[in-house]
Symmetry: C2
Subunit: 230 residues, 2 copies
């Protein structure tokens, strides 16, 4: 019983934590196995994470447009959303293979859902798999999904304080993409503060400022995607 | 064991669902009791929900600036964030009583956390309590926190498809605030589509288009807050 308010929340929380730990451990093992399978097939799996409307799908659209025919041949996408297939349709319109995962009330993808989605994808000739998580800057953090690199996307409309407010997501990132840079003239967003905040959490984290709309920063982004640094 | 991939995810999920149900039920009872206590003290408790950077805190700042002295005397705020006290400082700078709840890895507030935060607030003379949840458009949905009205904030920078992509949050809303309207000229956001999407989920849901920055729409918002419709 809680010493302050006399309710039984603490017992509930303790049960929740126990179940969560076992889920996280199960997922970690599953994700490692999945990552090995993807690597064995020569597939570079990139996790794309960020809050709702951070611009994850728009970044993929711009990426595939830049790649042109190369994209349709060698890219594949898993789209995680609570509901709708809006994002899968946007990706399919670029001619890229895509599988939609509707998570319902679940707030993140996990290795199990990704493995099932892979059954729906023809991976012949695929060299890169994008795993776009549910729009959520909290819950996907501790659930690897078989990706070997993680990109966290934060838009300039969200505010430069977000890396410090959502540190768990940044702690697991391999790249921070500051998106919707075309909006910079119209919002109070200090790029340096945002990057500094992210590096307080994860020292040395690479960061790129990108606009899928104007194309600014896309060259550096595409170089990073191709593993040429950035 | 899962029939497709042979893993034990389904047992884990089933345990998670069992624990979640008991947590939700415990929270529901706790939230109802809290709502009754607040009502008995004549306090109008408003839940403020939305994704990261939707503009929840900016809306509160603009609200308190409009209220002037009235705000400092009769408003109080509970700020939920995974980390930092940035938002509590912004509210305190307006002279309004505020308690910060750092949720850590927890992705939402619950009635228990709110009740504890209330112990840190002097509620003498307070007529309205704002409960600003963690920036998350998924997880806070099924966790009432003692509020008697719920506002869901979605910014025009996030995209007009968000109500349909995050239906659970909209299903529990009493008002949709479409925020950052000053950015409308610079983004592809169809206000009518956004409201229509929300009303597919919750027929008749009231909606307001607001800019905390320019002040557009604030009069209607303040009327709604005061219970004068909107």
């Amino acid at each position: 019983m809680c010493g302050v308010c006399g309710c039984e929340q603490e017992q509930h929380d303790s049960r929740r934590v126990t179940v969560e730990r076992s889920l996280l451990e199960h997922n970690r093992v599953h994700a490692e196995s999945l990552a090995k399978q993807l690597a064995a097939h020569g597939i570079d799996a990139i996790g794309l994470l960020g809050g709702p409307g951070a611009g994850k799908t728009a970044l993929l659209e711009a990426t595939f447009e830049s790649f042109g025919r190369e994209a349709a041949a060698s890219e594949a996408v898993i789209e995680g959303d609570c509901a709708t297939d809006f994002d899968a349709r946007r990706i399919a319109a670029k001619g890229v293979r895509v599988a939609q995962v509707a998570t319902g009330s679940l707030c993140h993808l996990d290795a199990h859902l990704v493995e099932h989605a892979l059954h729906d994808l023809d991976l012949a000739g695929v060299g890169r798999l994008w795993i776009e998580n549910v729009g959520n800057l909290v819950c996907p953090a501790p659930f690897p999904c078989g990706e070997n690199r993680r990109v966290v996307v934060i838009s300039v409309a969200e505010g430069d304080d977000k890396p410090e407010k959502y540190p768990a997501m940044i702690a697991g990132a391999d790249l921070l993409v500051i998106s919707k840079a075309d909006l910079l003239p119209y919002v109070d967003f200090d790029v340096a503060r945002c990057i500094e905040g992210a590096r307080k959490v994860r020292p040395g984290l690479p960061a790129l400022v990108v606009s899928a709309r104007s194309g600014a920063g896309l060259d550096s982004w595409l170089a990073w995607v191709r593993g040429e640094g950035g």
